[in-house]
Amino acid sequence: MTKNEALVKYCLRLGDSSLILGQRMAEWCSNGPVLEEDIAMSNIGLDLFGQSRTMLTYAGEIEGKDRTENDFAFKRLEREFFNNLMSERPNGHFGDTVVRNLFLSAHTYHLYKKLSSSSDNTIAAFAAKSLKEVTYHLRHSAEWVVRLGDGTKESHSKTQQSVNDLWEYTADLFAMNEVDELLIKENIAIDLNEIKPLWDNTINEVLERATLTRPEDSFMQKGSLNGMHSEALGHLLTEMQFLPRAYPDAKW
């Protein structure tokens, strides 16, 4: 694997995770618990789509095969997506969504903080800009997890269940392979083993404030690095890719 091949894969991981989570956030449109939350979730979705566009476009540039952000988003199959498994988890109820988003935004927050000094200028600039956005995403999800965890009996038990259900997808956020090995040597990527304790601290602190219990690690799902996803991703892509696939000659 060359450095460029690794970098394309790395950009796709970041870009795909933002894209898929963005699509999940867009699913909330007109479904929020209050109007203000509808607006907040659209905001988060817009940030994520913006991040995704930057990374997918950059992947296309490095790859040098004239693939655009839209080619990557709309013309790849399930096994060619590298988003982390957490990002494709269905929205479920509002508690499931904010817990999922907490796990993800705590991850991107610490990752982008470090990546903003990446030796790759585009990645560094992307991370610095995105950090401002994910700082808000983390605050938004953390505050909601605290409110729901320490709210009513019902909200507490629902949200604890969300934490328990989503926990098995957290290990996939820290999985690494030869892409990371190669890019860490070049000071482009970050060793995710450095991110894990920071993530743990953030999560522990939020769960404690929320009076929620951190689950024990048991079975952990992995596979996103090899394009192994849950069944949920195929349905999301079917909907998202419908028009470009039904009308391959059309420009929109």
Partner: protein, 313 residues
């Protein structure tokens, strides 16, 4: 006597183009008219998120997706300003929303039509937002201060929405034969409902009388409709689409287009809840609201706990 004097002063202010503000005296009918109109306007923004949300997840490019999401988000924001403006008339957002939930309050009937293809995202922006702008530009001069000021901000965003819609439909009209067919079909389906958005003919419009005298309405339904048609016909010609009205003809003498008669039976049936999506839209709103009940309760419980902790401290 007192009231007659107040009414004269009120009318004098209106005539002198001085805005009426929340704490000013106003006739009860003026207050009621505005409560109804502003809340209906707010409800329309909120329900209007649904027909466009219907294509958000299927937008054909990432750019189209973010533009559409930003647009729908603006609409939610417009809903917020408008509920705030309506609240200055002495009724809470919760009360207005209860009227929406129970079907007591109306919203623009246009949102009770389905969005069947991506071209409908074009038609909604171009025609529905286009029609709304004509009305809202005129409302920037409405006599109630908070409503007029809200409209100024809303109009700026609406003109971006209209351009977004026109861009989609123009791209499709010059695209593949299938795209062009979708664009024409969307125009065919949305044309008549769009021009009926301005409401019944002036001769059949029971709310026009006082509303014009009090300068809530600055132009009549028929005047606004004519102005919309006159500017839209040319826009259709430019992109090679045909307005689905065989009676549409330039009238040299009037300097305006003559046009065919609208189907008022359909209009009233949709207003009364018989639109293709009327039940669906209201159910969607109510389901979202009901699903959020436990979240709102939790947020309140959390805030109450924090407040009592602070009080103890």
């Amino acid at each position: 006597m007192e009231d007659i004097k107040k009414l004269e002063e009120f009318q004098a202010k209106i005539d002198a183009e001085i805005k009426i503000e929340p704490k000013d005296w106003m006739p009860e009918d003026y207050r009621k008219h505005l409560q109804r109109q502003i809340s209906q306007h707010a409800h329309s923004e909120i329900i209007g998120m649904q027909p466009e949300g219907n294509w958000l997840l299927r937008a054909p490019s990432l750019r189209a997706k973010v533009v559409l999401l930003a647009k729908i988000q603006d609409e939610a924001g417009h809903g917020l300003y408008l509920y705030s403006a309506a609240e200055t008339l002495g009724k809470s957002r919760t009360e207005y929303l209860n009227e929406l939930k129970t079907g007591k309050a109306k919203y623009s009937s246009i949102f009770n039509y389905p969005t069947l293809t991506w071209a409908d995202m074009g038609a909604v922006g171009w025609l529905v937002d286009g029609a709304a702008i004509v009305n809202q530009v005129s409302l920037q001069r409405t006599s109630y201060g908070p409503y007029a000021r809200g409209m100024v901000k809303i109009c700026k965003e609406e003109s971006f929405h209209q351009r977004q819609g026109y861009e989609i439909i123009a791209d499709m009209a010059k695209g593949t034969p299938e795209q062009k067919e979708m664009a024409q079909d969307a125009l065919n389906r949305f044309w008549w409902p769009s021009i009926m958005m301005f409401g019944p003919h002036d001769s059949d419009s029971p709310n026009t009388g006082n509303a014009v005298k009090w300068k809530i309405k600055r132009a009549t339904n028929d005047q606004l409709r004519q102005s919309f048609i006159d500017k839209t016909v040319h826009q259709a010609e430019i992109i090679g689409l045909t307005i689905p009205d065989p009676d549409l003809k330039w009238n040299e003498e009037r300097g305006s287009y003559d046009f065919g008669e609208m189907d008022w039976d359909e209009f009233w049936s949709v207003v009364k809840g018989g639109g293709p999506c009327s039940k669906q839209r209201l159910k969607h709103y109510n389901d979202a609201h009901n699903n959020g009940e436990w979240v709102r309760e939790a947020a309140k419980a959390y805030t109450d706990k924090q407040t009592s902790k602070q009080n103890v401290a």
